[in-house]
Structures are given as C-alpha cells and as structure tokens.
C-alpha cells in the first residue's frame, strides 16, 4: 500500500493543481480557537445537564463540576502520584522493550525476501490474537504485579511494530534500490540513505499504534489483574462508591492518551520533516 500511495500522491500532484486551503475564507487564528473553546464549553455543559437532569445516572457518571471539585485534593495526593507513576512506568518500559525487540527484528526480516514471506503469515496471525485474552495467563505466571502488565504490553505492542518495520523495509522504492545498486553504494550506505529513510514513516506509524495499544493494555491489566496504577485506582474508587474520584482517574487516563499522541505526532513531524506526507501536510 505504502509505496503505491506515495507514488500516486506524487503523480497526482503533477496532474492536479496543488490543493488549496480547505476553508474558503481565511479566518483569524483567534476566531478559530474561540470556536473550539465555545464547542468544548457546550460539550461540558451538555454533560453536566445530562447528569443533573438524571438522563445519565449520577451513581455511575460524575458531572464535570463534581469531578473538578474532587480533582484538586486528589491530584495532589501521594496516592495519585504513585498510581500515575506506576502506570506510566509500566507503559514506558513495555513500549521501550517492544521497540528494542521489534524494530531490529522487523528490519532484518524485511531485508530478505524469503524471510519476509516466511514470517508474514505467522506474524499476521499472532497480531490478531487480542492481547487481553492473555491477561489470565499473565496473571497465572506473574500474579497482580507490574511484571504482568509489562509482559502483556510487550506482547500487544510488539506485533504492530514488527509488521510496520518489516513492511517499511520491504517496500523500498525499487527505482531507488536499482540506482543504489548501479552506483555500487556500500551496504552501510544503502541502509543509511535508502532503506532507513524509506522505512522511517512506517516505523513511526507503528510506534503510534503501539503507544495507544500499550496504554490500553496498561490500564486494562490494572483493572482486571489489579496491578498497581490508574486502572487499579479506578476499580478501587468504584468499589468504594466514590464515583467522582473514579471519573478523575478516567479523565487522567484520557489525558495520558492525548499527551502521548500529541507528543508522538510532534516528534514525527520534526524527525520526518523531509518526508512527502509531512511536506504536503504543511502545504495543504
């Protein structure tokens, strides 16, 4: 898909005039942000109304005002700090180890045509096993520990990363490869100037996918398995009947997701500035 998409993108660019800004009349940035603030405020107001009016039962859903009221003292408590660090640590560790395993392995498997084909089906199959299915096994092996969460996260995020890096390396533009060969570039130079740049956007996508999956698994294994962290805090507050505090933790888990996503997109944009997908995004 990848190389084809890139090729057609380029060709499209020569056939059709560059896409203009989607919005017709340029508006000021201020108005733009203003609309967003208004829309977000309306969304919060609707949420509040749904809880106050009883459409959403107050024993299950906390209103924004009650969340904010509880959030102040809770967010500064030591208990919250520990839960947050626990989740972030197992998330980051799991993701980091998956990167260390999957990217080199993917590059190796992608370089050889035979290895690529030999492993494709197996990896594709393993990737489709929902990682949550392994929670019971991980619980048996490691109990309700951060190690359990770590094992699950690695299992869940290794496959998309592996597949993306294999794919990226395997999809090197054949013209570029031929040019490299006819100029007799050394192996190192080929890896440095041809393979890595072509695989990088695929790997970047893989990292973003893996980050989302591993956050989900971190929180999930804490809810079911009882490993310490935000997910566990959600269960504990739920069992204590403390609905607003439970929602504080739910909101925090979402904030983690947003922050991670923004950070990775920002990083990707910076590192892959030269790539056509990002160049055209800047123009459009």
């Amino acid at each position: 898909m990848g190389i084809n998409a890139v090729l057609t993108e380029r060709q499209d660019a020569t056939l059709t005039p560059p896409r203009r800004r989607r919005r017709r009349a340029p508006r000021s940035r201020g108005a733009h942000i203003g609309y967003r603030i208004i829309a977000t405020a309306i969304a919060l107001l609707l949420w509040q109304l749904a809880v106050v009016s009883g459409i959403a039962s107050a024993s299950a859903v906390a209103s924004p005002t009650s969340i904010v009221r509880v959030a102040g003292p809770l967010l500064s408590s030591a208990q919250f700090g520990t839960a947050l660090t626990d989740t972030i640590m197992s998330w980051a560790e799991g993701l980091f180890v998956s990167l260390l395993i999957a990217i080199p392995a993917g590059i190796l498997l992608g370089t050889s045509d035979l290895a690529y084909r030999m492993s494709r089906f197996t990896i594709d199959f393993l990737r489709t096993i929902p990682p949550v299915a392994l929670i019971p096994l991980a619980l048996l092996l490691y109990g309700a520990t951060p190690k359990m969460a770590f094992a699950l996260i690695v299992f869940g995020s290794v496959w998309p990363l592996l597949l993306q890096s294999m794919y990226g390396v395997h999809q090197v533009d054949p013209a570029a490869r031929d040019v490299a060969r006819s100029y007799r570039l050394s192996r190192m130079d080929r890896a440095r100037f041809i393979v890595l740049p072509s695989a990088a956007p695929f790997v970047a996508t893989g990292i973003r996918l893996a980050a989302t999956i591993s956050l989900l698994l971190a929180v999930g294994s804490e809810i079911i398995g009882g490993a310490p962290g935000i997910g566990n805090a959600i269960t504990l507050q739920n069992q204590a009947g403390n609905v607003p505090a439970m929602w504080v933790y739910i909101v925090v888990s979402a904030v983690l997701g947003v922050v991670a996503n923004l950070a990775l997109i920002g990083l990707e944009r910076r590192v892959l500035k030269w790539h056509s997908a990002h160049r055209s995004a800047d123009v459009a």
């Binding site: 898909m1 084809n4 057609t8 060709q11 499209d12 059709t16 203009r20 989607r22 733009h32 609309y35 967003r36 208004i38 829309a39 977000t40 039962s57 024993s59 299950a60 859903v61 045509d113 084909r117 030999m118 492993s119 494709r120 089906f121 197996t122 594709d124 199959f125 393993l126 489709t128 096993i129 929902p130 990682p131 949550v132 299915a133 929670i135 019971p136 096994l137 048996l140 054949p174 490869r177 989900l216 929180v219 999930g220 809810i223 079911i224 997910g231 959600i234 269960t235 739920n238 609905v243 439970m246 933790y249 739910i250 909101v251 888990s253 979402a254 983690l256 997701g257 947003v258 996503n261």
Partner: protein, 271 residues
C-alpha cells in the same frame, strides 16, 4: 493488496511468487505448531500443559458444547455494537465533514473522547448498565465509534476540490453528490477507520466479559484460570486467536470487494 495485477508487480520490482515462498509461508507456522507440540509433549508445568491436552479441551469445550452459550453471545454483542458505531460514526462524520467550521470547533472534544481507553470505562458502564449485554454493546459502540467517525471526517475533508467544483457546475443533485462523489471518495479512509475499530471492538468485548459477565469467551477464559483449569484457559486463547484471525480475514475480503475500484484507479495512476 495493490499487487494483484502482473503490471503492478513488475512496476514494484516484486518477483513473481516462487513455489519456494509458498512452501516457506506454510512451513513456518506449521513448524512452530509442531515445535510447540514436541516441546510441550512431556511438560509437567502447570502453566504450559501439553498441546495435545489443550486441543482435547478445545474440542471438549468449544466444539460445540459451549460455543452456543459463550461464543455466540460474544460475537452477537460485538456485531451489534460495531454496526451501531459504523452507522452513527459514518453519519455524524459525514455531517461534520461537510461543515468544516463545525468539525474544526468540536475537534478537541472529539480527540479527548477518543483518547479515553475503552477499558477504563468498564467500571462506569457496569454501574450504568449492569452486567447485561447492553453494557457490552454500549461499550463496544463507544470504543469503536471514534476511529470510524474521525476517519470519515478526514476522508470527506480531504475530498478533491476539483471533484466538488465539477459536481457544483454540473448541478448534480445533493443526494447524488453525497452517494456518488463524497462517500466513495472518502471510503478508503472510512474503511481504514473501520479496520482499526474492529480490533478495538474485539479487545473491548473480551475485556468487558472478563470484568462483568456471566457468559462469553472472555468470561470462560478468566473463570478457567480462576479454577486452575489451565488447558481450558489455553483452549479459550486458541479460540480467540482463530476467531480474531477469521474476523480480520473477513474484513479484508469486505475491503477488497468494496474498494476494488480504488485499487484499479491507483494502478492506472501508477502506470
């Protein structure tokens, strides 16, 4: 995907499939299963029972003793939640995509809602709906709607301006514009969102069954583990692997059929 015609194969520099490759592609997975069989044959470990034992409990539990009681409800809930998400997600996505001002304004709220990990909402959903199927359907719908909705918005907003202008100057009716120009043009991206949504949906259904349920595949696996019926637990994991793979395969078939025109276009553009 895009390599179906010999032309594109050659263009991409991919050599035609050699029998060796086909053999290799089949040999590796079967070799791994054989290896698992041999290594676990005399296993006395509680956690890693012999594969033969796993298979016999797979046969005992899932063919077809508990299939109807546990696997069918899981699949039903998944289908209902996923369908609801697809219909609502595409409809709202189209509406938002056609009004850039609106989709711009609600973008932060949507991004935030999407970022809530579906599993974090399970306890709240349990309070709200109890342990019935409604809880699972609602959770699946919630978890799967965001990739579909946001991809629909993106797909529609990325619509070729020229196509829109042509439609306007030919005074094509609104309805035809929507169904013949806008939706088809956005469909590759919508389908991509639906693919992401499918794996999220599978995760959520299993998870919600583990946390609060009295039936379902997830419930079976967790209760087998709690009773130390380890081969039964493994059998459930094997079933999920197979079901997950088949669902993905079915989706790929659907995508292949729905986007066949797109593949053709890309090849023409490429040549």
């Amino acid at each position: 995907m895009a390599f179906s015609s010999p032309v594109s194969r050659r263009r991409l520099g991919i050599r035609p499939i050699r029998p060796l490759y086909v053999v290799a592609e089949i040999a590796v997975p079967s070799g791994l299963v054989a290896l698992w069989w041999v290594l676990s044959k005399s296993s006395t470990s509680l956690y890693f029972p012999p594969l033969s034992q796993i298979l016999s409990s797979f046969h005992k539990v899932w063919l077809f003793h508990d299939f109807k009681a546990d696997a069918v409800p899981s699949l039903e809930n998944l289908a209902l939640g996923y369908l609801a998400a697809a219909i609502i997600g595409i409809a709202v996505g189209v509406a938002l995509g056609l009004v850039p001002l609106l989709s711009d304004a609600v973008a932060p709220a949507l991004e935030f809602l999407r970022a809530i990990p579906g599993v974090a909402l399970v306890p709240a959903a349990l309070l709200l709906f109890g342990i019935g199927p409604e809880m699972k359907i609602a959770l699946i719908a919630y978890g799967t709607i965001w990739p579909i909705l946001l991809n629909t918005v993106d797909g529609i907003r990325g619509l070729d301006r020229v196509a829109g202008d042509v439609a306007a100057s030919y005074r094509i009716r609104q309805r035809d514009r929507l169904f013949r120009i806008v939706l088809p043009a956005a469909s590759p991206q919508i389908v991509a969102g639906m693919r992401t949504a499918l794996s999220i949906g599978i995760t959520i259904i299993i998870f919600s069954e583990m946390v609060g349920s009295t039936n379902g595949i997830g419930f079976q696996i967790l209760s087998a583990q709690r009773n130390f019926a380890v081969p039964d637990m493994w059998a459930g994991i094997v079933l999920l692997g197979i079901l997950g793979y088949l669902l993905n395969l079915a989706f790929r078939g659907f995508e292949y059929y729905l986007l066949r025109w797109h593949r053709g276009m890309r090849q023409i553009a490429g040549n």
